[in-house]
């Protein structure tokens, strides 16, 4: 387990919004079917934290458990919406050269160094990150 600003920044919203395996957004249910269950189990915060690779204290678990349960409950209302079977809502036969696709022309980002300076730590041209395992 580690505490990394990079990981925390990206992982926390994911944890809160996604739910656990036993939560509302069960992987196998995702794109195929509309789920009619509005009542869902509250996710296990400790398991969520483990999947997000973050440490949580017992106090945090106790404090977050009801909050997350509330959030998940709120999202569960989405299940009651009558949506088409294919949530991607892909249009019939959109042409391949649709305006949504980008032309393959390289562009240099002018303020590259400024972007890299935003990294918490650097070494030479590299971004320095904590050990991974």
């Amino acid at each position: 387990m580690l505490r990394s600003s990079i990981l925390l920044r990206t992982a926390i919203p994911t944890v809160y919004l996604r739910g656990s395996q036993s939560g509302i957004l069960k992987q196998s249910n995702l794109p195929h079917h509309r789920c009619n269950v509005s009542k869902v189990d509250s996710p296990d915060v400790r398991k969520l934290a483990e999947m997000a690779q973050i440490e949580v204290s017992d106090q945090e678990v106790d404090a977050w458990q009801p909050q997350i349960a509330e959030i998940v409950e709120w999202f569960a209302h989405l299940q009651d919406l009558d949506l088409p079977a294919d949530p991607s809502g892909s249009p019939e036969g959109s042409p391949l050269t649709d305006s949504r696709l980008r032309e393959d022309t390289p562009r240099d980002w002018p303020e590259r160094e400024k972007l890299l300076d935003e990294a918490p730590d650097r070494e030479g041209r590299f971004v320095k990150v904590p050990k991974i395992l």
Binding site: S4, Q27, M51, Q53, S94, W109, L115, G124, F126
Partner: protein
Amino acid sequence: MGSPCLLLLGPHVLSKAVSSQSCALANPSLRKFSWQLCGRPCCSPKVASVIRKHTKGKQCHQTSATSVVQQSSKAAADQAAFEAVIGIESHVRLSTKTKAFCGCANVYGAKPNTHVCPVCLAHPGTLPNVNEEAVQKAIITGLALQCTIHPHSKFDRKQYIYPDLPKGYQISQYDVPIAEHGRLEVDLPDGSSKSFGITRAHMEEDSGKLVHFGASSLSGSDYSLCDYNRAGTPLLEIVSEPDMRSGQEAAAYASELRRIMRFIGTSDGNMQDGSMRCDVNVSVRPRGAKEFGTKVEIKNMNTFGGMQKAIDYEIDRQVTLISQGRGNEIVLETRLYDEAKQVTKSMRKKEGLADYRYFPEPDLPPLGFTQESVDGLQASMAELPAAKRARFMDMGLPRDDVLILADDLETADYFEAVLEEGAPAKLAANWVVGDIMAHCKNTGVSMGSMKSRPATLAAMVKMIESKAISGKIGKQLLPELLQGKGAGPDGVKKLVDAMGGGQISDPAYLAEILDKVIANNQKQLEQYKGGKTKLKGHFVGQAMKESRGKANPELLNKLLMERLDAA
């Protein structure tokens, strides 16, 4: 390989040598013996003595030749009782100018973090934008693999916790891949062919590159340095059905897959640069069983030869464990191939299936393709290697030559350019597969960038075909042509003239030479008449020498036989 034979290293390595036929005798001349000694059927005492002689008395076996025969026979029997089941996941980097979801250049080998932008560095508020070329190349590859192209493909987020993808997820495809249900027909080295199923091919972004400090690998390192140039470059992950049964089949599949992508221009497939990375799943089961055994994933293979060896090693490892009643030691895990030691080593155990928590990518609209656009891409696809091989075979070329000529696009293109200049196929193939290829290998120059143009070789080949010059003159001429000489109209002919003329087909002149040779070799003539007919070659050689290699060999032969028969 320091040891003369892997058999010295222990029973697990013994089984390796048995199936991979890769007994590591350093002396290449012994390789055929290593086959017999360590492979099937068994080694004979005669072979064992040859081995001892060549290994300076070191016995190739741990105990004696007889015991190894018994061991290898048992291992061979174990091998025969089991069947390997192999599936391959290949990640190939698509040859685009820019990354998958931003305009940064997609290049290999640039200075660290020079091709980065707010999108691929995951700065807040940025949105991905799909590269049209990447999508088209993914579709073309899918079509080349006889896949069904999904008309409404979409992207999904796959949760990812390592800092080489700073978003904290990878944009990939989950339940609606761009292509699925395909096939790949492969010509195997033994002359047979086999068809392997393609489960799916889906688009995704690559991660950045991590350099680990404080240790040689990721585990145990103090910290890591990240280069995000590769982060967000477009990949196509091609997943095969578990249809391969040996390392050789798996290597042939991966090799043909790369050949296809190179021919159609969708990826350069360089394994050394990481443009093609293959993860292989290997399991074994009793022959005839329906259920799969526990599969082990192997990574880190940089060549197809390495892949074959890694798989064969892994098959033997698993068969040996099962044969020894230790089948429970085969566990779900990832193993790395150590090319130097030619073994696989456990990297990490897999505790249950990974939960990637996929969900539809909210930042990207789905892709939609009309049949017309897919048909257009199909029509624009370059000729596939299998079609090229079939066409070359139809020209009456030997299979071995065809496999070489159609192995890579540059060779095939060069050969076809020579044909377009009017050279006959068989003769041109001989020159391209032989002298031209040897030149390229020796000089390190690729066929497409040689100084000598295809038209020049074609001109020379045509002169040989018309008997204006002999093949021998051609050999003398070729080094000049390879330096770029002989270009332009009649360039080769002028070069031949400058070298002292072409082939001599004047019967009177050749008769004169032959009469002189026969007169000077009366002793050999008597021996010939006495039954030593092999001496015919002596007369041909002398006459050729006299003509400075320019005599038309067929005519010379005919005239010589007339004289010898009459003598």
